[in-house]
């Protein structure tokens, strides 16, 4: 496990269970006069890996962030495991503890060591003992190939290492669902794979994942489904092979031709 990032590519995603974990119905959101999410309907099943793609500004990040209510919505409903997202407060905090989120800019706690980054929420939110939290944190850091970096501060790590710590930090909460918002977009090319490998292995283990990414190789090999968004709407939602080989909409064809031809 120590060298997960360099291990051979695990097989693709397992089959989804068909039991809905996240359900969005008729979700709408505006930023001022900009209609960023238009009547979004999306169901993600347990153990399913969904890749969200689409042109910049199409609302992918916003959609991702509504699922743990970092962004509020104006109409429609979002349920997680059958429960509607609560209003701001303790109940929402409890729900967020079940949903991991990995950001483009890593957002590791700059004033905490790598180990403290991973143990903080289990101790403060899950009320686990320090020793237990540290043991688990070291296992997770080992899993993402960073066992030897535990006592460093985030600024001392490369981008790829920081992002792997961020994934370990989320996993330490034993989330039911992981959201990834362009996790490799801020990375130098040589570091992209080490992060994608960790994500592939998570997918193979059956983690439910929603991933915003421009990494088409990852989408093809690791996703059960590709959801293509444009102008705040879901335009296509199909298995990756179908989507990439025969996109149905003109928007998707246009988008794919732009990103695949260079």
């Amino acid at each position: 496990m120590t060298d997960a990032p360099t291990a051979p590519t695990p097989p693709g995603p397992g089959p989804a269970t068909g039991r809905p974990l996240v359900v969005l119905q008729g979700v709408n959101k505006h930023y001022g006069s900009l209609h960023v999410l238009r009547d979004i309907d999306l169901t993600v099943d347990e153990r399913e890996v969904v890749v969200l793609i689409g042109p910049s500004g199409s609302g992918k990040s916003t959609l991702c962030r509504t699922i743990n209510r970092l962004e509020t919505i104006e109409s429609g409903s979002i349920t997680l495991d059958g429960q509607p997202l609560p209003e701001e407060g303790k109940a929402l905090a409890r729900l967020r503890a079940e949903v991991g989120m990995v950001f483009q800019s890593f957002n590791l706690f700059a004033h905490k060591t790598v180990l403290d980054n991973v143990t903080l929420a289990p101790i403060k939110v899950r009320k686990r003992g320090k020793a237990e939290a540290e043991k688990r944190a070291r296992e997770l850091l080992d899993r993402v190939g960073l066992a030897d970096q535990a006592n460093k501060f985030p600024a001392q790590l490369s981008g790829g290492q920081q992002q792997r710590v961020a994934i370990a930090r989320s996993l330490a909460m034993d989330p039911k669902l992981m959201l990834f918002d362009e996790p490799t977009s801020a990375l130098d090319p040589e570091m992209i794979n080490e992060v994608l490998e960790v994500m592939r292995s998570l997918a193979a283990e059956g983690m439910t994942m929603i991933v915003v990414t421009h990494e088409m190789g990852f989408a093809r090999s690791a996703a059960n489904r590709v959801v293509f968004m444009a102008d705040g709407q879901i335009v296509e939602s199909r298995p990756p092979a179908e989507f990439f080989d025969s996109p149905q909409s003109a928007r998707a064809r246009d988008f794919l031709s732009k990103i695949l031809h260079h």
Binding site: L70, R96, H111, V125, R126, R169
Partner: protein, 214 residues
């Protein structure tokens, strides 16, 4: 020199009065200031509203007027307290508005992603602020808080006009006794300098200390 040594007890009492007023008011202002700053960045709109009203009313009222409001106003509601407590309330609340704004500016220097990451891990608003955001804002708020507390030490002189024993007020006793007014004020000024320079030194140390600690 004579003015000082002949009236050492009066000066000493006034000096201690100013020190006590400044210390107790500073403690109140720091606690209130951080709490009100928390209100101002809270996800709950009425809390934000309360924070904004608190800051804008207190910051934009002349301090002397605030003293009158507390000393004359509160007794009308049956709240009768020693003058020292009235003075601490006026000074502490007034200064809390400035502390709040310094803390809020510090909070704004912390990238929003830090708070988002904390919340997305299930931390409550209080945990996010207390464990993630404020510790990172701390260093940048040390200098403005230092300036605010120096202003507080000087503002405490107003309490002398409201029957509180403090340093500036000693001039009345001394001039009645016929002492040289220039020297009377020189020694009062020295007393204030001792207090304000000490505050500067403490905050310079804090700033340095937290810089080395990363």
């Amino acid at each position: 020199m004579n003015v000082l040594f002949d009236n050492w007890d009066t000066y000493w009492e006034g000096f201690l009065g100013t020190l006590k007023l400044t210390g107790v008011s500073a403690a109140l202002a720091l606690v209130l200031g951080v709490l009100v700053a928390a209100c101002r960045v809270s996800p709950v709109a009425p809390m934000r509203m309360f924070g904004a009203v608190w800051v804008n009313v207190l910051r934009n009222t002349p301090l002397t007027l605030l003293f009158f409001a507390v000393v004359l106003g509160l007794p009308r509601f049956g709240i009768v307290l020693p003058f020292f407590v009235f003075a601490v309330l006026a000074l502490g609340c007034y200064t809390s508005a400035f502390i709040c704004e310094a803390v809020r500016a510090g909070i704004n220097t912390v990238p929003t992603g830090q708070g988002e990451a904390a919340r997305s891990l299930g931390m409550t608003f209080g945990q996010t602020l207390g464990l993630i955001v404020l510790p990172q804002a701390f260093r940048s708020v040390i200098p403005p808080i230092g300036s605010t507390l120096i202003a507080l030490a000087k503002n405490s002189a107003i309490a002398g006009s409201f029957s509180v024993v403090e340093l500036l007020g000693t001039y009345r006793t001394l001039s009645e006794l016929g002492f040289n007014i220039v020297w009377t004020f020189v020694w009062i000024a020295v007393g204030y300098l001792i207090i304000t320079l000490s505050i500067s030194a403490v905050f310079a140390y804090l700033e340095k200390h937290w810089e080395v600690a990363r």
